[in-house]
Symmetry: none
Subunit: 213 residues, 4 copies
Amino acid sequence: MGSIVDGRVAGDRASKRKAEKRERLLAAARKLFIQKGYHETRPQDIAREADVAHGTFYSHFNDKREIFLAFAYEAQEDLTNYVVDRIPEVKNFEEYLNHALTAIQEFAEQNPGLLRSALVDIKVFDPTDKMAKVVRSKFAAGFIRIISDAKERGELYDDVDPELMGHAMMGVIQSAAPQAYRMGKSREEFVKLLANFLARAMIKEPSTSVTND
Amino acid sequence: MGSIVDGRVAGDRASKRKAEKRERLLAAARKLFIQKGYHETRPQDIAREADVAHGTFYSHFNDKREIFLAFAYEAQEDLTNYVVDRIPEVKNFEEYLNHALTAIQEFAEQNPGLLRSALVDIKVFDPTDKMAKVVRSKFAAGFIRIISDAKERGELYDDVDPELMGHAMMGVIQSAAPQAYRMGKSREEFVKLLANFLARAMIKEPSTSVTND
Amino acid sequence: MGSIVDGRVAGDRASKRKAEKRERLLAAARKLFIQKGYHETRPQDIAREADVAHGTFYSHFNDKREIFLAFAYEAQEDLTNYVVDRIPEVKNFEEYLNHALTAIQEFAEQNPGLLRSALVDIKVFDPTDKMAKVVRSKFAAGFIRIISDAKERGELYDDVDPELMGHAMMGVIQSAAPQAYRMGKSREEFVKLLANFLARAMIKEPSTSVTND
Amino acid sequence: MGSIVDGRVAGDRASKRKAEKRERLLAAARKLFIQKGYHETRPQDIAREADVAHGTFYSHFNDKREIFLAFAYEAQEDLTNYVVDRIPEVKNFEEYLNHALTAIQEFAEQNPGLLRSALVDIKVFDPTDKMAKVVRSKFAAGFIRIISDAKERGELYDDVDPELMGHAMMGVIQSAAPQAYRMGKSREEFVKLLANFLARAMIKEPSTSVTND
DNA sequence: AATGAATGAGCCTTCATTCAT
DNA sequence: TATGAATGAAGGCTCATTCAT
């Protein structure tokens, strides 16, 4: 049965094969964008890495920009999922902080260069670009929601603006993580330092563990 | 007189003229890198903007990378000087925070796009590039020293690592500032929120003003 | 019934379906060649416009050149038929001229762009191309025959060479028609001016209407 | 003297050399556009033929379109000059016709393919293109002026519209000339036939030579 | 025959850098 | 040193055609 009688089956197979190539291209793009950055990666290279013809690239993505955005989107989604999967039940913001930072750091270690590329290279796009905008704020969005929830539960200082602090947290992590790496700090230590920092900054009554005495 | 008989005088003038052209090129580069970013700016554009011949560019800078680094270096130096000039006597870290954040924000407003360009575009360079490395950490260096001093005076929590937190502060500012701008927050409000955030995060006994009650 | 048992019936249906697709492709090609010209029209566009798969194009035409030639051939045949249908009984060359010019102009108005495309774009083909040659001279052929007939009836000047003048007429019409359009002349006026022009040029004793007095 | 003291002299020389390359490129373009047509000629080919680097092409012409227009403009100017130079004193329109047609035919023979390319390929450009418009009507413009003059002198039929007939003449020549060539007619014969044709079509009282008797 | 994904040679253009003057 | 024309490798993208299903 199938390929002759039922066009749908043949079509399904074909579109499955097509989808598979798209995946191959995306995987290749991920590898190269991480390795060499946006500007140093050519569609041609991606195609070769994915083992498809140069022209095939353009039957899956309209241009280089599009595949980068798809890559960045996916990267942030992967991170979000990774983190969400690792936060059992959010009892309070402080616990969330620890779990989330640990998860982010784990993810970053398992995917070296991924976040740097997805978060930095995206800035080359026109700030008015619709899709770029969406992708750019995707990463901060998770933090913002969590901060917002904690704020409603009264755990945070009144002057903590979720929107602003969500972005601030993102910045902290982005800048501090590579530095911690350069300084040779262990993941545990890094997470502890940063969690304390953020807890004190935002939580009204952080557990004693985050203070000095 | 002089220019023919006295080589030194002629030489001085010549080197003065040369230095002046270099300045013109740098000023042009600053304008264009801010306006269009590193990749969208061509040496030809810089030369034209500086009103010198295209080829002259290469008698002042070895390549495009070099002028960008010079630009980024200068930008961060300007910022540092601006901030330092605006901090009267550093009585304590909290005061420093307020003055510094205000100064940074002022500088950013007076030089729109400058920091974004100098801090983001520099990431296009090979992370192992010696000069790029220096420039990259220039901005955080000021913070690190101040935090270090405050730590020695015992104002800060023991777990505050100056090196790490210097970079963290830089990240907070970089991410939060554009967001505050997008949200329409005034400079005063932004500075207050961020100063409170950072003060609570690092200072053992911040002034009451930074708490809630 | 039929389609499985009786091969001939099935075959007929199949070839009918095939012929119908060919027609659809030709109609699509006509539309697009007129709209965008030969070089700006891709086989893919034609297929999509005809609502068939891209690859199907090549089971009806060997290449893009072939469908263009088929289009141009058809266009000129349509014109010829249109004109022939509108010339009742050719009493003399002068009458023919009026009817023919009117018909051509009508046809051109009803099929804007058709002749321009069929007559101009065909020049992109190698002048030695056999089929292109045939198509190229198809349009003039009608004129040539008519002029030849009139010549044999003794209506025309002895030095009127049918072959040459057939092409000359074609050139006149091609160049003058767009110009008349640009000048805002009505069809009636254009036909009258051109008919007079050609009548005086070729007919020994044109009716008084074509002279000045 | 010169290159050091007087910048103008050096500049003049440089710009002379530049102008010379432009000429070389134009000559190469002329050769190739005639030989292979607009679409089959690549800027790359033109550059190679002119013996300059590929990129040099683009410092003299913004794009392929621009050099084609320059070529077509020049071609028509050359023709116009050639014709004007060969018309001693225009006693009357009939004489003009003979001289002009002879000159055009001569020019066409000496520059085989030139007019075909300049007059046909230009139609590939957007009809609203300003420069293309200018070039397109350049060729007819000469005829129009002459017809207009003759009309004012009362030599022509009242219904001869200079604008329209200028274009008609152009069309006649364009279509008839290649046909005459294919038929093996001599230049003299072709010119005579066409001159008679046009004279009868437009001149009230053509010399007896153009009639039959 | 029909499908549409895949192909890859080829196109036009850019631009960092060099070099003769 | 200053000039600006010249360079040519490289870039992103297109599209007529092929081919496995």
